[in-house]
Amino acid sequence: MRRRSRKPKITREAALAELALMAEGRHPECNTITGRFIRDPELQQASKILHDAIQGESYRQPRSDITPAPPAWLLPA
C-alpha cells in the first residue's frame, strides 16, 4: 500500500502572499534578530561602530589594565 503524502497543499495565492511578505520584509522570518540585522543598514553600521570601538580600546590599553568586570558583566573578547 502506498503512503499518502502528508505535505499540505499550498495554493498559488498563498505562496505569492508569502513571497510578498518576504519582499516587503514583513514575513515572520524577517523579524528574527538576524533577519532584522540583515535588512537594517543602521543596525549593521551601529554594530560596526561598537565593534571598532571595542577593538580600538583593546589595542590602546594593555589587557592587564582593564578593570576586572563585576559579576553579571561580560568583557569584550
Partner: protein, 317 residues
C-alpha cells in the same frame, strides 16, 4: 553605562549567543514571485525558501526541455547567480541576476566516418552536414573544431618564428586531418531538400533530417543582448570553455590541439559559455531568459541524439 577607563558590555542573559540565518537575496524573492506569476515555477515546489524554489524550478525546466538526453553527451552546469562571473563574488549590479550555463567537461564527436559515407551520396553533402551541426551547437555553446585547432597552430607557428623557426618544434599538422570535401561549398537549403528526397539510404537520410531539425531548434534561440557593464566584467577573461570537441578521427591532431589548449583554459577565468541577464521583477526579461535556456537545452539534447546516430562515433581506437 561604563565608567572610567575600561569598556564593559552588558551580559545578554537569556539571549542565544549565536544566531544563524541563511539570508535570502531580495532578487531571489522577486524572481520567485515572477516565475510563479508566469507559471514557470510549480507551486508544489514551494517550501518557504525562495532559493530552494528557484533551484527546483531550474531543474524542472531543464528536465522538461530534454535534460536527460543532454546528459548522455554533455556535462553542463546551469546557475542563477547574483554575479555573472562564477569565479568572482563581485556583485556588479544589485538589481540583476544572471543565468549562466557552462560545461564541466566537453562532449566528443568523431565525425569523419559520417562524412565519408555522406561523400558517396554527394560531394557537397559532408560540408553541408558539418555546417548544420556545428552552426547549431555554436549558437548556444562553444564547440571546438578544426578551425580552433588551425588558429592555435597558426599562433604556435608565429611564436616559433621568433624562437628559432617552426622546424625546431613539433607543431601538429591540422591541415592534413581536414577532409578535402570540407573545402567545398555547402548545398543550399532547396538543393539539400531535393537531395534528401531522392536518397536511398534510410540511415543517412535520417542523419540529414536530424541535422536539419537540430539547426531549426537552435535557430529559435533569441539570446538577449548583454549590457556593457557585464561585458566589461569579462574584458580580461579567456574565451568560453568548449562544450563539444569535434574531430574527424579519434585522437587526431585536432583533439591533440584541444588537449594542449585545455592545459591553459583555466589559467585565466573564462567567459561564461551562455549568459542571460535577468531583471527579476520584469516578467518579459524572466520569460526571455527561461525561453533561451529551453532552446539551449533542446539544442544540446538534439545534438546528443544525433551523436548517438553517427556511424563510428562511439567506436574505440
Amino acid at each position: 553605562m561604563a565608567q572610567g577607563n575600561f569598556a564593559l558590555v552588558p551580559r545578554l542573559d537569556g539571549v542565544a549567543i549565536e544566531h544563524q540565518l541563511a539570508g535570502e537575496d531580495h532578487r531571489a524573492i522577486l524572481l520567485s514571485q515572477t516565475l510563479t506569476k508566469l507559471e514557470i515555477a510549480r507551486i508544489r515546489d514551494w517550501e518557504g525558501s525562495p532559493s530552494k524554489y528557484l533551484l527546483c524550478t531550474l531543474r524542472r525546466w531543464i528536465a522538461l526541455h530534454g535534460g536527460k538526453s543532454v546528459q548522455t553527451e554533455f556535462a553542463l552546469d546551469a546557475t542563477i547567480s547574483n554575479t555573472p562571473d562564477r569565479y568572482s563574488s563581485e556583485d556588479i549590479n544589485p538589481a540583476r541576476l544572471y543565468l549562466t550555463v557552462d560545461p564541466e567537461s566537453a562532449g566528443y564527436i568523431v565525425i569523419g566516418p559520417t562524412l565519408e559515407r555522406l561523400k558517396r551520396v554527394h560531394s557537397r553533402l559532408p560540408v553541408t552536414f558539418y555546417n548544420l551541426v556545428l552552426g547549431a551547437v555554436n549558437r548556444c555553446m562553444r564547440a571546438y573544431d578544426y578551425r580552433d585547432a588551425s588558429e592555435r597552430v597558426e599562433m604556435w607557428r608565429e611564436w616559433a618564428e621568433g624562437e628559432g623557426g617552426p622546424d625546431q618544434y613539433e607543431i601538429p599538422d591540422v591541415e592534413s586531418c581536414i577532409p578535402a570535401e570540407m573545402k567545398q561549398e555547402p548545398l543550399k537549403a532547396g538543393d539539400l531538400r531535393e537531395l534528401v528526397g531522392r536518397m536511398q539510404n534510410d540511415d543517412l537520410r535520417r542523419l540529414i533530417e536530424e541535422a536539419v531539425r537540430l539547426d531549426r531548434i537552435s535557430g529559435r534561440l533569441q539570446r538577449p543582448e548583454i549590457s556593457e557593464e557585464t561585458r566589461e566584467a569579462f574584458m580580461d577573461s579567456n574565451p568560453p570553455l568548449p562544450a563539444l570537441l569535434v574531430s574527424f578521427k579519434r585522437n587526431d591532431s585536432i583533439s591533440g590541439c584541444f588537449e594542449e589548449e585545455g592545459q591553459a583554459l583555466l589559467e585565466v577565468s573564462p567567459e561564461p559559455s551562455f549568459i542571460v541577464e535577468i531583471d527579476p521583477e520584469n516578467a518579459g526579461s524572466v520569460q526571455e531568459a527561461f525561453d533561451a535556456l529551453a532552446v539551449l537545452c533542446e539544442t544540446m539534447a538534439a545534438t546528443s541524439r544525433l551523436a548517438a546516430l553517427l556511424p563510428g562515433n562511439k567506436e574505440e581506437g
